[in-house]
């Protein structure tokens, strides 16, 4: 028996760890960032499971990594509503970080849609002068403009033209990829948008890293809830390569409800509301 280690703790403890909410920042009308009183070793694209006692637990990407640990949350439904009722000093539980995260590479283009920008900001900050394309409904809805502007060339698209071009981020990407050769594209956003980005990168023969989303339970690859074709989003992803995406007949088409039933994305998104 080695007396230097804690023999009683066991291994691989994936249990919500209590953390205090240190600071809450309103990013816009429906988005808040929760800074947590903890330090996690993580890479951009990884996520944590965020637990509110007796309420529930859901996955959220890390929006700040390093000296700060934070998640940024868009108000969508039941659980995020409860999150928005949380105050500084409240105690919640987190476990993780989980998933693989993005692999930073040179000469990159980052394409974000809506709250898909969240896992991408820490990546952008880490990349060497990437080109960043952000799309959102309105100028207000664009998250982390300053952080994105820092070391990258930033293109913006809004549905209403209130900032940047009027249109989708994919409209900008389509033009840009014609003119400029990138070694890698990173994307996160609505799945239909990512599907469009995938079609573009396939056409231009560029490596893609896309961060997918599915309803999760365990978060560590055993329950099978988050499956997309044979891949576990929580463990094999959430970031997938072009090669993996090619094998995913369900990508952009189907997802599974909490009971495991395979439905089209529209039904999947409406189920929880």
């Amino acid at each position: 028996m080695n007396h230097n280690i804690d023999h009683t703790a066991g291994h691989g403890t994936d249990m919500p760890k209590a953390v205090k909410i240190k600071k809450i920042v309103d990013e816009n009308y429906n988005t808040k960032t929760f800074f947590l009183d903890t330090k996690l070793e993580a890479v951009p694209g990884q996520f944590i499971m965020f637990w509110i006692p007796r309420i529930g637990e859901k996955p959220f990407s890390l929006s700040y990594i390093g000296n700060n640990t934070a998640i940024t949350v868009q108000l969508k439904g039941k659980f995020t509503k409860k999150m928005f009722e949380l105050s500084v000093d409240d105690i919640v539980g987190i476990r993780g970080p989980y998933g693989n995260g993005f692999t930073p590479q040179k000469n990159a283009c980052v394409i974000a849609g809506g709250c898909g920008v969240i896992p991408l900001v820490p990546l952008v900050e880490m990349l060497d002068k990437p080109v960043v394309i952000v799309g959102a409904k309105t100028a207000d809805a664009i998250l982390f403009k300053e952080r994105l502007n820092g070391n990258s060339k930033l293109y913006v698209a809004t549905d209403d033209g209130s900032l940047g071009i009027k249109g989708f981020s994919t409209d900008i990407a389509r033009e840009l990829l014609k003119r400029k050769k990138f070694d890698v594209v990173y994307t996160c956003g609505p799945e239909m948008m990512m599907k469009a980005v995938f079609n573009l990168t396939e056409q231009h023969n560029i490596a893609l890293q896309a961060s997918l989303e599915r309803f999760m339970k365990c978060g560590f690859g055993v329950c099978g809830q988050c499956i997309i074709n044979g891949f576990r989003v929580c463990k094999d992803g959430p970031v997938f390569s072009s090669e993996q995406l090619r094998q995913m007949t369900e990508f952009g088409k189907f997802a599974r409800l909490k009971n495991g039933k395979k439905v089209n994305l529209k039904e999947y998104y409406s189920w929880r509301s």
Binding site: P53, K58, G93, K217, N259
Partner: protein, 307 residues
């Protein structure tokens, strides 16, 4: 080491398995492709999640956590219902993968309906998961030998493929239950389902962590209980046993087979050792057998019992 390479092939109730490792119910059993991936990673057979007639949403999150010595889960038997699952079964069977359909229900008729549809879709074996507490009678199936006997008899009458019963360790006398199950005509037994249940309380918030508060324990912590149950069952009945609970490596597989299992179910090991744990365990098993002079699984089955 030795030049002989042990033969891991084994036959379970008429189904040939390339090795004795079986994916346990509730792990990655949501989709056909996920079951196929497990098979590609070395499993000898795969088990579906527990399937009922109607779809079930299961419990709220957190549903699956790990506590340092195993997993704790209260998934709540979420499943899409047999009608929505038939396609998954067919897709798995197109690949000729040995498939066990794990079934749940509130009444005998529920199990029968699911089992018949499963048989028609091509599954090899029906597993009755009777650890589900919501049943017509006040007493749950798993701890009531009579209730259980009637269930087994009814399902056996309804299908012609083998029927096995998955037993809970959380009973006072598992031998009594095993005997009842055999007498009622079951073709095999699988054991064990999760232990406890247990509970984890987060002390900073003074709240149970699982949404359902309680959850069943699996993984390394429960292996000794699983070994004992299988040992006891093997002493009591003549039908084959699938040994499940805390199997993490080749040596644990040997231990379980020596206790009396004809094949082993593996679940939580995926958490500890990855999806290819089936391949790893088969290799470890084969290496151990080579080094210890065993050439077939049969030689190991029940070897720990006094002759």
């Amino acid at each position: 080491m030795s030049v002989i390479t042990a033969n891991l092939k084994t036959t379970l109730l008429g189904t040939e398995l390339r090795n004795p490792t079986i994916l346990a119910a509730g792990f990655l059993g949501v989709s056909a492709e996920s079951l196929i991936r497990v098979y590609e990673n070395g499993a000898g057979a795969v088990t579906t999640k527990s399937i009922s007639i109607e779809s079930r949403n299961g419990h709220a999150n957190p549903t699956v956590l790990s506590f340092g010595h195993g997993l704790i889960n209260a998934v709540g038997l979420s499943n899409p219902g047999i009608d929505n699952y038939i396609e998954e079964i067919k897709t798995v069977k197109e690949k000729k993968i040995p498939l066990i359909l794990n079934t749940i229900g509130d009444r005998n008729e529920d199990f029968i309906t699911v089992a018949k549809l499963g048989e028609a879709a091509g599954v090899d074996i029906i597993e009755l998961n009777v650890s589900c507490p919501n049943v017509i009678h006040k007493k749950p199936y798993y701890s009531d030998p009579e209730l259980l006997s009637s269930l087994v008899r009814n399902v056996k009458d309804a299908v012609s493929i083998p029927v096995i019963v998955k037993l809970s360790p959380n009973v006072t006398d598992i031998k009594e239950i095993a005997k009842a199950v055999e007498d009622a005509g079951a073709d095999g037994i699988s054991a064990i389902n999760t232990v406890g249940p247990g509970m984890i309380i987060n002390i900073e918030t003074a709240k149970p962590v699982m949404a359902f508060k309680k959850g069943g324990l699996s993984g390394p912590a429960i292996k000794p209980v699983a070994i004992r149950c299988v040992y006891d069952i093997y002493e009591t009945v003549d039908i084959p046993v699938i040994g499940i609970g805390g199997i993490m490596n080749g040596k644990a597989t040997v231990e379980m087979i020596m206790a009396g299992a004809s094949a082993v179910g593996i679940g939580s090991a995926i958490y500890y050792r990855g999806l290819d744990v089936f391949k790893k365990i088969s290799e470890e098993l084969s290496e151990w057998m080579d080094n210890n002079g065993y050439t077939s699984i049969k030689q190991l089955v029940g070897a720990a019992h006094e002759s």
